[in-house]
Symmetry: C2
Subunit: 253 residues, 2 copies
Amino acid sequence: MLTLYSFGPGANSLKPLLALYEKRMEFTHRFLDPTKFEHHSDWFKKINPRGQVPALDHDGKIVTESTVICEYLEDAFPNEPLKLRPSDPFLVAQMRIWTKWVDEYFCWCVSTIGWERAIGPMARSIPDDEFEEKMKHIPIPEQVAKWRSARKGFPKEVLEEEMRKVRVSVARLEARLNESPWLAGPDYTLADICNFAIANGMEKGFADVVNQKDTPHLVDWINRINERPGAKEMFSKVKRENLARRPQQSAPA
Amino acid sequence: MLTLYSFGPGANSLKPLLALYEKRMEFTHRFLDPTKFEHHSDWFKKINPRGQVPALDHDGKIVTESTVICEYLEDAFPNEPLKLRPSDPFLVAQMRIWTKWVDEYFCWCVSTIGWERAIGPMARSIPDDEFEEKMKHIPIPEQVAKWRSARKGFPKEVLEEEMRKVRVSVARLEARLNESPWLAGPDYTLADICNFAIANGMEKGFADVVNQKDTPHLVDWINRINERPGAKEMFSKVKRENLARRPQQSAPA
């Protein structure tokens, strides 16, 4: 039995969600609400002590790290008809260069801007004492630091440097998609899913960088993935968080 | 035919070197000298436009990124008797969590301290105009920034934060090796090779953190890997760079 613990269909949570929907695999989805800090609750830290989503429970065994979960699905279910990893080892390597790049570079710069815009206001809406209490339950010090920076507002130089990296990232994706239909080569793979997890929505959130005029191949690739039946089904079925409206912690459900 | 382009047997270059020696595979080693900035030379940037080692040439196809190369060897040569990737998908996922962690966290903090200590003095020994000329040939802006920081000396706060991360990393390795003989479980895998690439030598360079008293399991694991025939052969055969003695650029060979 498969249970996926995740936020809604965006960023790292989207990766295994989309892989599962693309492969039409049966699984239970357990939504965690980031505005309630559910991923730092004791019950979830028994599942992933690092307090991070996504996490996959496969018959009681827990697999963490979004990209690792995606590759795990390929390894553990080799008989699923849709493969999201090429069979040619050289193309697998190309796929991994792209999944590694998104995890080490692309996701971080987009994430900082996203935290500044969406998490910052949410964090500032939390009273000081409640915020400090929340911080105590976060197991990773770098995550605590990121929450504090978001609440205070990231320094201007940091945001400028991250925007530079966003532009570098977008240029790299556009150049690749100008020469190849999919990131790792002729086939749709985890390279596309893992980069789409970050790039989807940039036509709105980063419209001055990602748009029909400057990055036509990137926009077309985002549209092509959105049009796939797996993506449509995922977006129609999976619950989303609403960062703009933080629920009262003590209100009845 | 296999040709590996790399520095000597340390850090990221060590990963595919050790994998190849462990698997007893035939390959040609092409040593690049970092003190001569050979990895930023035009001939090498035709092989890897990012100007980074290691890079593997397999019958004319180039695979880059040290961890990706290691997995590629498992994919492309499935009949080699020694497997460095488990057969159980759950253990493969554990292996990947460790190879991902070293690439995203452990390697960076150790690297900054290493750059401060070894690359800094070397960079300062280069005259200004020659240094600026070298910088022009580095394709990755973050690498240029790292060279400049090393030459100037990293800020004290950066070094302190990196040392904190070194301690976190070492504690994580020690805890894991206290409960398991190898990082991913019962077998020696790429998780061990990729983390050994960074941890080896820390008993000397970080003796206050990695030592028999405080981290006995980590020290024992480092020793066990050094005693393996593959590691012994690699260290005896593969040329090393000498960062302390920068060769004159214009001197005859």
